[in-house]
Subunit: 224 residues, 2 copies
Amino acid sequence: MKSFEQATSPSGDTLKDRTLERLQELILTGDLVPGSKLLETQVAAKLDVSRATLREAMIRLSEIGLLVNLPFRGSYIRKLDRLDLQEIYSFRTGLEKMAFQFCWDKRDLISQADLQMRNERLCQCISDNDAYGAIMAELHLHNWCYELSGHSLLLQSWERLKPNLQFYFSMHQKAHDRAGPLRESHDEYIRLAKGDSLDDMLLHLEHHMQQGLENTLSFLDTTS
Amino acid sequence: MKSFEQATSPSGDTLKDRTLERLQELILTGDLVPGSKLLETQVAAKLDVSRATLREAMIRLSEIGLLVNLPFRGSYIRKLDRLDLQEIYSFRTGLEKMAFQFCWDKRDLISQADLQMRNERLCQCISDNDAYGAIMAELHLHNWCYELSGHSLLLQSWERLKPNLQFYFSMHQKAHDRAGPLRESHDEYIRLAKGDSLDDMLLHLEHHMQQGLENTLSFLDTTS
DNA sequence: TGCGATTTGTCCGTATGTATT
DNA sequence: TAATACATACGGACAAATCGC
């Protein structure tokens, strides 16, 4: 189990990996402002690592999409506009529909109880008005179908997309100093995910994601 | 146009990028045997680059999936079994269905003529018995819907998956010294892609991909 | 437009840590 | 257990490209 986690999520073992995580954290928390340039020597000093190690971490952050690297010109914190948000949500919708198609026949009592628990954790965060916790809980809830699908390419693709979602939420929460799209609990989502109609689930996913997108977009409009 | 190509496909500009392409070429052509270990000093000397530059290229090849990096143990050429092949094909099916959903309303006379041309190039390669050209032509044909979709995340995901497909085809072609799954021309695929029923297209995609997978799998069986 | 300052890209030598024998 | 081989990581160096004046 331990070795499996290390194999799929090679984090924390090497300094390069820890640097990646720390830098990602700095981006997600908003300590590094979107659009600003990262000076390698400066950031390397700040994180107390060599330039080479930092550069290796930045390459992977560029692949995720949190950084934009322009050859000979530097790396910049990714700036996300509403078009990017629409792409992320539409892609996410497609991925999650795939995930449910793959995991559908693998559901059992244990995994359903697991799903239930993840939802309850989300509900708890919402009622506690814990915005950050709610974001993480919601992502963890949606992680369920990808894990259950047993499809490594699909899971990998989702893991790459996930930081972008976190980035949005944190970005606007920081910018406007109020809770982001604190969504309603996922009752319908859960009910259908436990149900016996895959078509209904897929249809609901379209609606669910569209709702999430519109929530976030309208949230942006209130401040533009 | 030039700057756009550089922005979306950052290739050839830096030594790191050229090294990535050269190393990928060595893998795809079978010069580097799947499962074998890559010694950094040795490969760096062979490619005439520094270890740092090579490592930056290898990181991105690991993300694509052509290399497997084990911390403190080294990097190995990815070995692909039939389970990996099934994953690649099923994921590819999902991606291409997404692509057609996004590009469907963007089709026009010009893009349809473009699609036609790509198919004719493929047919030419097949009738010429040009196995390598056919592989490239087929991938270029399938590229059409991703480009037309205008969805950068989707295109990016496909671009990441594509080398894995090339890897398979080249792998077995090399191993058995005969043409890989030289598929029939994509007449039905083209006809439906030009037609006016998205549902028919999506349905055909499932069948088309399943056919491709079975062709490749049975091709493996003949030698196991 | 040009020139100096800054930064990235790239290389090298070396030291440390890990895995394997 | 010791020894070897290798990956990891560091610091300094230089050229080339970019940026700012």
